[in-house]
């Protein structure tokens, strides 16, 4: 699956990367990323996740063809 991170998350992860590990839910992905970079633990807890331009919740089932976008809290305006 492909991961795209935004804004401050780019300080902790590449902007875009492939994940070969088999994570099957958003919750598992969040857990996995926390292990990749423990400094991102706090910010990841605040993030929203989207697949195919729709927000998905913690239980959403991920497949290997998905592109998952990870959004820190909005700060527009």
């Amino acid at each position: 699956m492909k991961i795209q991170v935004f804004a401050v998350l780019k300080d902790y992860f590449d902007k875009e990367f492939e994940l070969s590990d088999t994570v099957t839910s958003v919750a598992a992905l969040q857990q996995h990323l926390t292990q990749l970079n423990t400094e991102a633990t706090g910010i990841l807890k605040l993030c929203r996740f989207a697949v195919h331009n729709e927000f998905v919740d913690q239980n959403y089932t991920l497949t290997n063809n998905d592109t998952i976008c990870i959004f820190p809290p909005s700060s527009g305006g």
């Binding site: 909005s74 527009g76 305006g77």
Partner: protein, 153 residues
Amino acid sequence: MILSAYSHPVAEAEVPELSAMPLDVVALLAQAHHPRAGAVVLFSGEVRNHNNGMDVDYLEYEAHKAMAAKMIKQIIADAHDKFPLNIAVAQHRTGKVIVGETAVVVITASAHRSEAYAANQYIIDRIKHEATIWKCEYFSDGTKQWGGNCSCH
């Protein structure tokens, strides 16, 4: 408005929700009239030259554009449901925005002013808190800081 006593009300669909170019606030306002609307309210969120005691050089707005545009459209639609509006438009900058430039503009028009004000605040509050847009401040001392605080909470 002097320019357009009988102008055609702005077609909301014609205003892109996001723009990489400077926002033409004046042109948006000049079009935002409706013969049944007695009250027009405009909000312009502008880049300040300081924040939290730091001198700001410029901002940069990153966005997930497809989702941000869709969310702003939905927020506008929700505003129409909640308030009796004749006009509601919003546009947000992306990319580098310098001090004094407008980062976001919201225009609402209604028969009565209380609703035009309330709808305007409703729209900007939701855009700031929900849309997939993030600000990065670049300071004069060379440091940068990602979002969190909006320019004018």
